[in-house]
Symmetry: C2
Subunit: 491 residues, 2 copies
């Protein structure tokens, strides 16, 4: 396992980077900014995908697949969209290699230049709306509710595993509607779906809100988001849902005949979450011993470790454990019985703690004699000795309890880190000393937002959807404001 | 629905292209050679993925994810590998666009040239073996059994939906083993897994065999394959599994300490199937009326169409149908009740026939009075009238029957199209007049294989694994041969 994990209090950022690698979640690859998602990390992502995919289908969406490449001219069709993405595009210019001159090895064949360069999709609005033009003629073709699971590429200069990588995995929903109201309702619905997934599956509490104009998706009329708070007091945008108005329909000339036979432009939304959620999951719950995973997303929910001397004792233990494994699996639990003889129990305990397995069951010679098991939960590290016939119920109970407990813990942490402030000095003090979300009046202008960002590095994370109407004055400009917004430093 | 489908006998190739589009499976995109997989087509692919993924996991494999991009130098490390893929590589050379001169729009920023060009993966052996070097130190790290679901790009000049596209979706397994025997056993196992999937899920009979040297994967020591036969008598390679020897381990310097502490190079396999399977599925079963889908892969297994005049009749029918839908779903069946009032029953019948829905249930006024339903099966187009209380059992029975029947039909077709020939004239005659697999003696040389290909367009599809040892002479050269091989024209 190598040396111990850096402690969060020492260096939170280093702790995170080490944890991702040591817990076998992901690692850097030989390609700048691109990660390898290792099997254990990918198993968590698969569970996220399955949970989200089910929710998307329950809300009427279907999956499809669109091309990886986007002709450069498509990207340019929506002005603010190309503005937002042009600076981080991987560009395919050639389609062939050839043997170079002596000693040069294989080189790009200059004769195989593409007529039009292709962009590796940073997001798929343009290629999808080019397709929707063919799919949509009449109001009968609407709404069109489609999702895609895909890889996308944004050539970021500073990358971090899961949080910001040049290539990442995500899903992107792209819907088309006959009316503005329907499209807005869809964008809002998907924000709620994301929030429910974050809270119910990931045990990560989130705040739902609207982005300010400067933080909006390039090409959106309105961006809804869910914002989570990490243990170090920094915010993390966990998902966004965009109301795109008729911007892409106009750029790609997508019209439909309404019930009266009149041609109208279609209304659109898009929404996405990515492998960034892995970062949110890791940073919300984990501790100095390693990962803490919510039972609903843990690839291994229960691990059983035998403590024995000699194969005879191991056989006696296995005779007890094998039927227990079966019984737990019959309850739908994912169980691993680690009877490897190559590693000591202490090593295994550390390994599963590091990997965040929610429940560990140990059984030794004395347990065998007493007909008991020792059950340890990962979240609180508490242990209890339980009679054999109570193990299944105890474990099942713990699944619910741990899921609820880590959510509550995160919620308490967030509650303790939302601070209302009345003036700019207090604002800066809270940001410096305590971090977290700072709730403050803002005059609604981009200039003020920008200045606050320059001076404090804090951005407006969102205008919460449930923010109360209240008269006040902007902490920076003193101008009138009728709502508090949430500031924070962010990932 | 537009005009009728071209008949297979008229123009098989045109029939296929039209069917893929009309049945809403896929269509060409604005990007040369790249397809859009439409929701109905993607739903079939999702079922294939789920079936295969389960089989991979049951045989001990885990999923992971590796980068989309491969540095050019990696590709060059295994000599025959780069030879095989260099001519069809999409190459990323730049990472940014910028605003061009006046009127030029957005252009590639020449200052954002990558130091080393990146290839969009055509397959991932090189990036994965670069990673495995870090993951494998000791025999304890072996076997390493990993699969990836991903998109890959091969810049083919002539493309066809599903069969050959510049970008396609696939899975690629990459395993590492301590011994040659283990790696060979793995490669063989995966060929069997693919064959089982093709036959049990897709209802597509396949022949298992070995590729000849000239048809081997670039970098493989041995390529195992499954070969299917389409209705037009052409063969289609449906999946391959490669024993890679130590080629990639040597190219990427991946060694492990064996039990005696000695350093050895690792033994490897890789294996993959792709969205090409969709082509095999479509071409094996479908007819002049449209798709025929095996129940195990049909997104909609049962469709119920009401035949009514006026909303009162529809209400009476729905009152009967709604509980039936529930009952069928409770049996795990995917059911659609199409009560759209915007389309006539005849239109719906055609649509579901075109889309290959295995069972169609119709209910009209007379059925309502008699307490019956009309049940039609897609594969034989046979109809029967069934009492209401027998519908569920009848439908369940049909699921099995249709799955078996279309498999048997394909198997019979193949049996009728494997011809043993004794000389080259007969060989050419069979190829011209009947098509299918031609079983013939071959002298084992690449020269003969190449000449036969030039003269007849037929290639050696495989050396069947169950081919009997028998003395004979090559149909082309007359030289001795101890086994017959299978030739065919192929997709």
């Amino acid at each position: 396992m190598g040396k111990k994990l850096t402690k969060r209090a020492e260096d939170y950022s280093k702790w995170y980077n080490e944890l991702v690698v040591k817990a076998d979640l992901a690692e850097a690859s030989g390609v700048r900014g691109c990660m390898v998602i290792k099997p254990y990390g990918f198993a968590i992502w698969e569970k996220m995908q399955a949970g989200l995919d089910k929710m998307f289908k329950e809300t009427g969406h279907e999956n499809a697949y669109f091309p990886l490449f986007i002709p450069k001219s498509y990207l340019s069709k929506e002005a603010s969209h190309v503005e937002g993405f042009a600076k981080e595009c991987a560009v395919v210019t050639h389609y062939r290699l050839k043997n170079g001159e002596d000693g040069e090895g294989v080189v790009v064949d200059p004769e195989a230049r593409l007529e039009e360069e292709l962009i590796v999709r940073p997001t798929s609005e343009t290629i999808i709306w080019d397709t929707y033009r063919r799919w949509i003629q009449s109001y009968r073709d609407l709404p069109l509710l489609i999702n895609q699971w895909a890889n996308v590429v944004r050539w970021e200069m500073r990358t971090r595993l899961f949080l910001r990588t040049a290539e990442f995995l995500w899903q992107e929903g792209h819907t088309a509607h006959a009316t503005e109201a329907e499209a807005i309702a869809e964008a809002e619905q998907m924000m709620h779906v994301y929030a429910e997934f974050a809270e119910e599956h990931m045990a990560v509490p989130v705040i739902k809100g609207l982005k300010t104009a400067s933080e909006r998706f390039a090409g959106a009329v309105e961006t809804y988001c869910i914002e989570a708070l990490m243990q170090d007091g920094k915010a993390l945008q966990a998902g966004t849902s965009h109301f795109l108005g008729q911007n892409f329909a106009k750029a790609f000339d997508v019209k439909f005949a309404n019930k009266e036979g009149k041609q109208e432009h279609v209304w659109a939304t898009s929404w996405g979450v990515s492998t960034r959620l892995m970062g949110a999951l890791i940073m919300t719950h984990s501790d100095d011993n390693g990962l803490v995973l919510p039972p609903k997303l843990a690839p291994i929910q229960v691990v059983i470790v035998p403590i024995y001397k000699g194969m005879e004792q191991l056989d006696a233990i296995s005779e007890k454990v094998n039927p227990l494994v079966k019984e737990l699996r019959a309850q739908g639990l994912s169980v691993k019985y680690d009877n490897r003889d190559t590693h000591k129990p202490g090593f295994k305990f550390n390994e599963y703690e590091l990997k965040g397995v929610p429940v560990r069951i140990a059984i030794g010679q004395r347990d065998l004699e007493n007909g008991t098991y020792e059950i340890a939960r990962r979240d609180t590290l508490e242990k209890q000795t339980v009679a054999a016939d109570a193990v299944v119920d105890t474990v099942k109970g713990l699944m619910t309890e741990i899921q609820e407990n880590i959510y509550k813990k995160a919620l308490d942490h967030r509650a303790a880190h939302i601070t209302e402030v009345g003036d700019y000095d207090e604002f800066k003090k809270v940001l410096d000393e305590k971090g977290g979300f700072v709730s403050a009046h803002w005059d609604g202008t981009g200039e003020t937002e920008e200045k606050i960002k320059e001076e404090t590095k804090a951005t407006i994370r969102c205008i919460p959807i449930d923010a109360a109407e209240e008269q006040g004055s902007c902490i920076y400009s003193g101008k009138p404001s009728n709502k508090k917004v949430l500031f924070a430093k962010a990932y």
